[in-house]
Symmetry: C2
Subunit: 199 residues, 2 copies
Amino acid sequence: MTVNAAPRENRTPYTLDTLLDVAVSVFTERGYDGTSFQHLSLASGLSKSSIYHHIESKEQLLRLGLERALEPLMATISEPRALEGPAIGRLEYLIRRNLEILAERLPYVTLLLNVHGNTETERWALEQRRSYNRAVAAVVQDAIDEGDIRADVDAKTTARLVFGMINSVREWYRPERNVTPEALTAQIHSLLLDGIRTR
Amino acid sequence: MTVNAAPRENRTPYTLDTLLDVAVSVFTERGYDGTSFQHLSLASGLSKSSIYHHIESKEQLLRLGLERALEPLMATISEPRALEGPAIGRLEYLIRRNLEILAERLPYVTLLLNVHGNTETERWALEQRRSYNRAVAAVVQDAIDEGDIRADVDAKTTARLVFGMINSVREWYRPERNVTPEALTAQIHSLLLDGIRTR
């Protein structure tokens, strides 16, 4: 807090960031199609014209929310550690980074994973997700070719199931209530690679 | 088709079943809160009064839809094969039955897995899901105690992750387009128990 911060009894001034947080939670609760400016106004306590002061359209809010999940996710697949060395190590890196981003940006990743595809922005987000999935499936295929991942399930199915388990975490994981992101990552990583059975 | 079936050029008469199929797909597309009778009327081609001929409320349709997923799911946990014998075998049975139900009743299970909990019916469905999850976690705990499942991840987390992977299948699996439910079940079962890594 700075010396010139507003007195506590005043309402915290709304920034685009706070509006976006509210909007993302309403989108997830009601669905994007089911959310009107009226709902955003009620949830934020802002008038419609104050909302329009920050953004041009509901779809712009959706895009900004989706970017907060997609930008770090898409960045990981072109990082050196996702591109260099044995594929099994690259896959482990992608799994870890995906879980970190999920834990850090839970509401945004949840929004992304619920996208249907009715608007241009949703179709763009789905296309980004498909690129991400293709990149991951290619790494799984490399790991199969290098003999480190079993070959009896095809790469695309394995990639879907691995990231299906990871992404399911959004439904119950709350970093403030459960284990740390690092501990959860280690557990998931170990279950995925070696299975749940003792040996 | 019976001898007295209506001529083909006539509209197929709506039954509660066909209305329910339409409603479940609209609920999943728009969210339950975001679905009005107007949407149900547009999607089914029925007037609102024709819809009221079949059901009393939107919530009744939701309940009927959720029951189609919950009834077979809840039945599995009290079947003899889920109650008798080594816990690892009981867990394998629960995994297989869950996947079969998912494949057979994909739209209904998808509806169930998207439930938020704003109405009495949704809270009831969430409570049923919690009972199911508790039953599964208890079987995982038994398998840990019997030494067949690793003890380094707690039973509740393992159960959530296992069923997280299974349930993620709803996002991409289409029985008519992908492998058979039996083949998919075998793949998931094997990945979950033994991991994706070669040994």
